[in-house]
């Protein structure tokens, strides 16, 4: 009789373990995923620190609804308007998918800005997370361009004239402005090529950029860790302890750091500014 832990497992579990081991051996995926999922984060994270994930999740939703829309959308100046009408009025739940894509764009812009505000107010962009902020601000700009290019694809009056004005504004920028506008419009005027160009930018170029920077951003977030809210109880206590140690060292005229602090006399009885 063998005991349960070391005896042969059921064959399905054995195959499963074998596959996991095979992949782990060759990629380190198991180690990587466990590192990502089970890394410690500070105990007192705030609900405001969920906005980045929400923005990413909404981007995922935009990708899914966008793929569905792309199955019905026909990016040509002759057919775009009709295909949007077809999606809105004839395709089963087409109105819902298109509505979700439109409101998802609004939600994503709002979430990205709120997330930026949170990071700013928490001071989370400071050392060592400067480059996480840089990748994040690039993502914000890419998100705005997503809105700009997606707007035209509806190819109705509002979309068309708003883009004409946006391109005129671009063209009025000094030095590079006219060239950038010509590149965006595929020529000096808005035309059929402008639509397919915006379609390609909206579907391929910017999503590629967003995916790349989300990857970098996430990697940095995981590597550097989620920042702790600056008013966490732990940091107040740590700061209090530090100051107490410095005061004690000053009393004994020993440089701070040289004196061994064994126990702090009364940190629990003093309200150190937190709501403990």
């Amino acid at each position: 009789m063998t005991t349960k832990d070391i005896g042969p497992k059921n064959p399905v579990a054995q195959v499963g373990d074998g596959v996991v081991d095979y992949v782990e051996n060759r990629t380190g995926a198991k180690t990587g995923i466990s590192w990502f999922l089970f890394r410690n984060v500070p105990k007192e994270t705030s609900w405001f620190q969920t906005l980045g994930f929400a923005a990413m999740a909404v981007f995922g939703l935009q990708a899914v609804t966008g793929i569905v829309l792309a199955m019905y959308y026909k990016p040509s100046s002759d057919t775009a308007y009709q295909s949007i009408q077809h999606i809105t009025h004839e395709v089963t739940f087409g109105w819902l998918v298109r509505g979700m894509h439109k409101w998802g764009a609004t939600a994503m812009i709002v979430l990205v800005f709120l997330h930026m505000g949170r990071v700013f107010l928490f001071g989370s962009y400071k050392y060592p997370r400067e480059l996480t902020w840089v990748t994040g601000s690039i993502l914000l700009i890419l998100t705005m361009f997503m809105g700009l290019t997606g707007y035209l694809l509806v190819w109705d009056e509002k979309a068309y004239w708003a883009t004409v004005v946006a391109m005129n504004i671009t063209a009025s920028a000094p030095i590079l402005g006219p060239y950038v506008a010509d590149i965006m419009r595929a020529g000096p005027d808005m035309g059929p090529d402008t639509l397919s160009r915006f379609y390609s930018i909206h579907m391929l170029v910017i999503p590629g950029g967003i995916l790349t920077f989300v990857g970098l951003h996430l990697f940095l977030v995981a590597k550097l860790g989620i920042s702790e809210p600056p008013w966490s109880k732990r940091s107040y206590k740590a700061r209090y302890d530090q100051e107490a140690a410095e005061r004690a060292a000053a009393r004994e005229r020993v440089p701070a750091g040289r004196r061994e602090v064994t126990a702090d006399p009364a940190p629990q009885t003093v309200n150190a500014g937190g709501d403990q």
Binding site: T50, A162, I169
Partner: protein
């Protein structure tokens, strides 16, 4: 930030992490709750506000004022502030300088503010700058959202080939988003109803349309050099006669 401060932060954060808890499931469950709420809001809005489609593009539209999506309202409103009327309000501020300065500030924030302090109450300057930028953007967006979309169909009196073509060109290029022509239009540029009284000549108007800043230094108006010669000529003729030969009916 000094080396010692960086070390101190790393030590402090290592402490926080050591006393912390695993990302899965303790942090990620919050993330999912908020994400699901966002999804619910999106689906709710999609059902509540059925998305519609505007009219098809029609080159001769005469009653349409283009407006961007709400998240570009602040840029749109900036154009109304920086009209290029005098040296304090060059149009380049709205089209180029302000947006690019904002983007540069955004990207460079962590390199401008390098102090280790993270508590809000100890960062009055950062808070003031953030509040000023946030309030201005919110105010401009609000202004953009509430600004009235003006205009009605344009017909000129007397009618001829020039006015017919000019009405199309005016509509196609969104002139009325900045100029009052007839009863409606934007307040970004000058009112054009009596522009003909200035007797500048057709050629002046053609040159001005092609490159506004060559005639009116610092003009906020984008160049319309891509218009065809007949379009330019018709528009310039009507403009030169507006208020004298031609009237907006």
């Amino acid at each position: 930030m000094k080396k010692a401060q960086q070390e101190a932060y790393k030590r402090d954060y290592a402490q926080a992490k050591a006393e912390g808890k695993p990302f899965f499931p303790y942090a990620i469950y919050k993330d999912h709750i908020v994400a699901i709420l966002c999804f619910a809001w999106i689906i709710g809005m999609a059902i509540w506000h059925r998305v519609e489609i505007g009219r098809p593009i029609y080159e001769a539209t005469t009653d349409f004022v283009p407006r961007p999506e709400w998240y570009f309202f602040f840029l749109f409103e900036l154009l109304k502030i920086f009209k290029g009327e005098n040296f304090l309000t060059p149009v380049i501020m709205a089209t180029f300088i302000v947006p690019n300065v904002l983007m540069a500030l955004l990207v460079l924030t962590p390199f401008i503010d390098r102090t280790p302090e993270r508590r809000l109450e100890k960062r009055p300057f950062a808070m003031a700058v953030a509040m000023i930028i946030f309030t201005s953007l919110a105010w401009l967006t609000y202004k953009g959202a509430t600004s009235e979309a003006a205009s009605g169909a344009l017909t000129f009196e007397p009618q001829d080939d020039n006015t017919e073509l000019a009405a199309k060109v005016i509509a196609a290029n969104g002139c009325q988003s900045c100029h009052v022509i007839g009863a409606g239009g934007g307040n970004l540029g000058p009112n054009l109803n009596t522009i003909g009284n200035q007797k500048r000549g057709v050629q002046w108007h053609i040159d001005h349309l092609k490159a506004p800043s060559s005639k009116v230094p610092g003009s906020p108006m984008p160049p319309f050099a891509s218009l065809s010669e007949p379009d330019l000529k018709a528009l310039a003729t009507v403009l030169d006669g507006l208020g004298t030969t031609y009237q907006v009916k």
